[in-house]
Amino acid sequence: MATNVRPRIRLDKKQAKKGELVEVKALVSHVMETGQRRDASGKIVPRKILNKFVCTVNGKEVFAADFEPAVSANPYIQFKFKAQESGKVVLTWFDDDGSTIVGEESIAVS
């Protein structure tokens, strides 16, 4: 179930100077069922994907993405943000079924 999934998140640095770019790489286990496939009995397997991703730093959105079924299973996302202040980096994925997957890291900015 999506609720038990723990995303794997890596920041390229834990400590950054103000204004420096921090790279985030994140991988999460998810089937990303497209809604196009048919099962053995010919019935369409219902769509179930992570349709949205948001990254916030101290509650402020720095990057977001909308995913379509064309995003691979176990979606991987890599992006950067500009270090402004120390705090929490929170990554959230939104599932079609309404559940969310949340991961958290921290960044120290000097």
């Binding site: 079924p69 996302i77 890599q78």
Partner: protein, 152 residues
């Protein structure tokens, strides 16, 4: 005459025939056609994007269409005065054209993102970027796919 056409031209004729059929008021085809041009139009509000400033980094040949790494980069100072707000990625040969939309803020620092996508067959990726002042830029890149990403 058909023999003189290559596959792409034949496909284009097929598509325009299908469009004519729709405009002619006949029933929609059972499988909706790939509507990447409509998606781009919706994204730009009808404006024609300028070619440039966008870079797509994807393999020339993807062995496995189930997971094709793709990086998009947009040249921009990424300051509160001038930054890239949204980047739309569509694929013109998938059953459905939409792939992903990335949303940036000045705090992103750089308009760059990487993900892995599914491609059903050899096709073009189209990437359109929108800036905060309402300008649109685009790039496209062909990816050859050896094994498709839809179980085929």
């Amino acid at each position: 005459m058909i023999a003189a056409l290559n596959r792409r031209q034949a496909l284009a004729i097929g598509v325009s025939a299908a469009t004519t059929a729709i405009l002619g008021g006949s029933v929609l085809p059972a499988a909706a056609a790939n509507d990447y041009e409509d998606l781009i139009k919706k994204f730009t509000g009808g404006k024609v994007p300028t070619v440039g400033r966008v870079k797509i980094d994807a393999p020339e040949i993807a062995e496995n269409g189930n997971t094709v790494p793709m990086t998009i980069m947009v040249e921009s100072p990424m300051t509160p005065a001038s930054y890239v707000t949204e980047v739309l990625v569509v694929a013109d040969g998938n059953p459905r054209a939409g792939v992903a939309t990335f949303r940036f803020t000045p705090d992103s620092g750089i308009a760059e993102a990487n993900t892995r996508i599914r491609l059903a067959s050899t096709q073009w990726l189209h990437v359109v970027a929108k800036t905060n002042d309402g300008a649109f830029f685009m790039a496209k890149k062909e990816v050859k796919v050896t094994i498709g990403g839809c179980g085929g």
